[in-house]
């Protein structure tokens, strides 16, 4: 892992939090166990964290803890997808999807009007990529097919979605717990999305 690490001491100083808070958040599973990296330093063992991720997470906790209880926050950060189902209107109202994309999705998928979480995730990703102009409608279909087929993986693991294009031909990849990918020179990476981030974004919109 080539991520930049930050020691616990530096983190507390930088974010202005106390040991008590950090340990409480850890206890409530707001900070995943895997982020606590133990390394031996000259003063004995020290704990380090992946810098970018932990700072982003603590910022989020600090801004949201006024409105939500710690348990609700924990629910939000957990990658285990919550049980819920929304109707079409609700999705549009909550700004998760636009009407055009919703129609396109329903045309291709031919599912019912009630959306469970995995379908919300699919439509959210579709919306994101179509709206940003990274992909066109045909590529959208391809994307949906990938997401549908590997839907069970997405909920558990740290997945990333990558769309590449070479000589005008595009393809869509789903990486599970991958560290890095490399392509040849002619290939252009059009888009790269972390699904965990998407899930968090959706949850933030649902609250």
């Amino acid at each position: 892992m080539s991520e930049e690490l930050i020691s616990k001491k530096e983190l507390l100083e930088l974010m202005g939090i106390s040991y008590g808070q950090l340990y409480r958040w850890k206890r409530k599973d707001l900070i995943p166990e895997e982020w606590f990296v133990r390394k031996s330093a000259f003063t004995g063992q020290e704990t380090f964290f992946p810098k970018e991720k932990i700072i982003e997470r603590i910022n989020k906790i600090q801004t949201m803890k006024e409105n939500l209880s710690l348990d609700e926050l924990a629910n939000m950060f957990s990658p285990n997808v919550t049980e819920l189902s929304l109707g079409q209107d609700e999705l549009i109202k909550r700004n998760i999807v636009s009407e055009q994309v919703l129609t396109f999705y329903l045309e291709n998928e031919k599912g019912g009007p009630q959306f469970d979480f995995s379908r919300i995730l699919e439509i959210f990703i579709l919306e994101k990529l179509l709206q940003s102009g990274d992909i066109n409608l045909d590529e959208g279909k391809m994307l949906l097919q990938v997401l549908k087929e590997s839907g069970s993986l997405i909920k558990q693991k740290d997945c990333e979605l990558i769309i590449v294009r070479k000589l005008g031909v595009s393809s869509c990849l789903l990486l599970v717990n991958a560290e890095a990918v490399h392509f040849d020179k002619g290939t252009r990476m059009v888009s790269r999305l972390s699904l965990l981030n998407c899930i968090e974004e959706i949850k933030a919109k649902l609250w």
């Binding site: 001491k9 106390s18 040991y19 206890r27």
Partner: protein
């Protein structure tokens, strides 16, 4: 949970059950439950074996209980001796005898009198103890208030307020040369730390009070450090 129509399981004497869902489970004598059991009240007054997981609202072990799975309960009282192979998750966890857990413990309010052994991490909001304890992982608690008897051990202790005191009794003073009343740990991190009879490699905190009979390798503090004359600090740093 629909529990009104459920039956009770009572074992008086010697018996075994295949487990299942009950309203109350009472074992008086020697009883074995051979799979998962789910109930409102669980009581074990003799010797009980559960070869599965226990899910209950109130659980009480007054004799000897051995659990081969995990225990999930709103409240858990151990008044005799309990051995648990899996994890414990109990909002209220009281021990007035001896409890040894091979997994980790998650609780809100923990009170321990006697002896506690946890192989992995132990998490609680409040941990009050007058006991001898061994924790193989991290003791992660908001408020640690411990009076130690005998030799205690924890890999790491982290939380907001950490108070470690020695329990002084006539017995302890008489047999002082025989019994070492010490808490041994690698690392203590907290905002307010008060220690007695503690051997730690590293202590980090805002306000640190090192009482008598401590042996600390390194203290890092941000605000105050108070040291008793009868303690040894090899190195201290203000950050």
């Amino acid at each position: 949970m629909e529990t009104k129509n459920r039956g009770d399981l009572t074992i008086n004497g010697y018996g075994a059950s295949n487990g299942g869902q009950f309203h109350r489970v009472i074992i008086n004598g020697k009883g074995t439950i051979n799979s998962d059991v789910e109930c409102m009240d669980f009581e074990c007054n003799g010797t009980g074996f559960v070869n599965g997981n226990l899910y209950s609202k109130n659980a009480k072990v007054s004799g000897k209980g051995k659990f081969f799975g995990k225990i999930t309960s709103n409240s858990l009282k151990v008044e005799g001796r309990a051995m648990v192979d899996g994890d414990i998750s109990a909002r209220n966890f009281r021990v007035s005898g001896s409890a040894s857990i091979n997994g980790c413990v998650k609780s809100e309010d923990m009170k321990v009198h006697g002896r506690l052994t946890v192989d992995k991490d132990c998490e609680a909001d409040v941990f009050k103890a007058e006991c001898q304890f061994t924790i193989g992982g991290l003791l992660n608690v908001d408020l640690v208030d411990v009076k130690i008897y005998g030799e205690c051990h924890a890999q790491e202790i982290g939380g907001q307020t950490i108070k470690i005191k020695q329990k002084s009794s006539l017995f302890a003073q008489l047999f002082k040369p025989l019994f070492q009343t010490m808490l041994e740990t690698e690392l203590i991190e907290g905002d307010h730390i008060e220690l007695e009879n503690t051997a730690a490699k590293v202590v980090r905190g805002n306000d640190v009070t090192i009482g008598p009979n401590c042996k600390i390798g390194l203290v890092e503090y941000t605000e105050t450090l108070t040291q008793d004359k009868k303690s040894i600090i090899e190195e201290s740093r203000k950050i």
